[in-house]
Amino acid sequence: MSRLLPFVAFLALCGLFGFGIWWNSHHDQTAIPSPLIDKPAPAFALPELDAPERTVTKASLLGKPYLLNVFASWCIECGVEHPLLQAEAPTLGVTLVGYNYKDQPADAKAWLARHGNPYEVLMADLSGKTAIDFGVYAAPESFLIDAQGVIRYKHIGPFTPEVIEKELKPAIAALSEKSS
């Protein structure tokens, strides 16, 4: 038995390291779990990108669930997720709200003109101050917010077809179950 001990210890270490590799390949190590899940979204009041004199507030978006997508023209990964978002947006069953993060309005408009604009509502946070209340630290990030203004799901990094099928759509389905 004692002769086997080093071998058992070696196997245990292999198991531990193997688990580490498996875990890291299935989880985004840079993603910080948001403490805001199942909490009311922070209050905000931001100008619309196309019409800065008009303000979008948390209250004005209440009543219907929406997907808040944080993006910027300087964010490369946003360009990666954008075509997917555009293709999926009409069938998701929630309002797609664009949150332009720390972007010059002219840059953002040019970027949307080039890549297309899937957003029903589009607001701009030039200073990034409101984004701190949302716990945003990089783009893209997306928040699923229900009709009562509670954050139900957050995805950090670009959406992939897999994430939309396995995480976003079930989260949206859970919303309608709750309200009906």
């Binding site: 840079t30 910080i32 403490p35 805001l36 990034g128 701190i132 949302f134 716990g135």
Partner: protein, 147 residues
Amino acid sequence: MKPLLLVFALLLAAFSAALPAQAIEPLPFKDHAQELRFQQLTAELRCPMCQNETLADSNAPIARDLRHQVFDLMQQGKSDAQIKQYLVDRYSDYVLYDPPVNPATWLLWFGPLLILAAGTVVVVLTIRKRSRAGTPTTGTIDHGDDW
């Protein structure tokens, strides 16, 4: 020559007036003590974007924004604990370089102790077994104690 000088002086005045609004760093601290407090606090906070850097060290845009937020909260008279709580509410315990002891961090805090305890058990068992197997022939005198 004189009008040119005047224009130059005016331009200089205009630029220097615009400077405090533009030059974001260094931050306008009230006094040296506050600056020290700021440096100490931001060195204990972790940049959400870059795992191995403190807010004080990081050049990431979010770190700069959060430094300003910490600075603003300081100006509002918030205590260090309040500022930390403000960041934890938004970015979770991840931002603390000194994580609190709670069920989620028990393994982190006490894991090393567990490993030490396991190692001690193995060592004790091995020694006991060797002394029981009787290895006085190696020259050491067995006094009868397990150690």
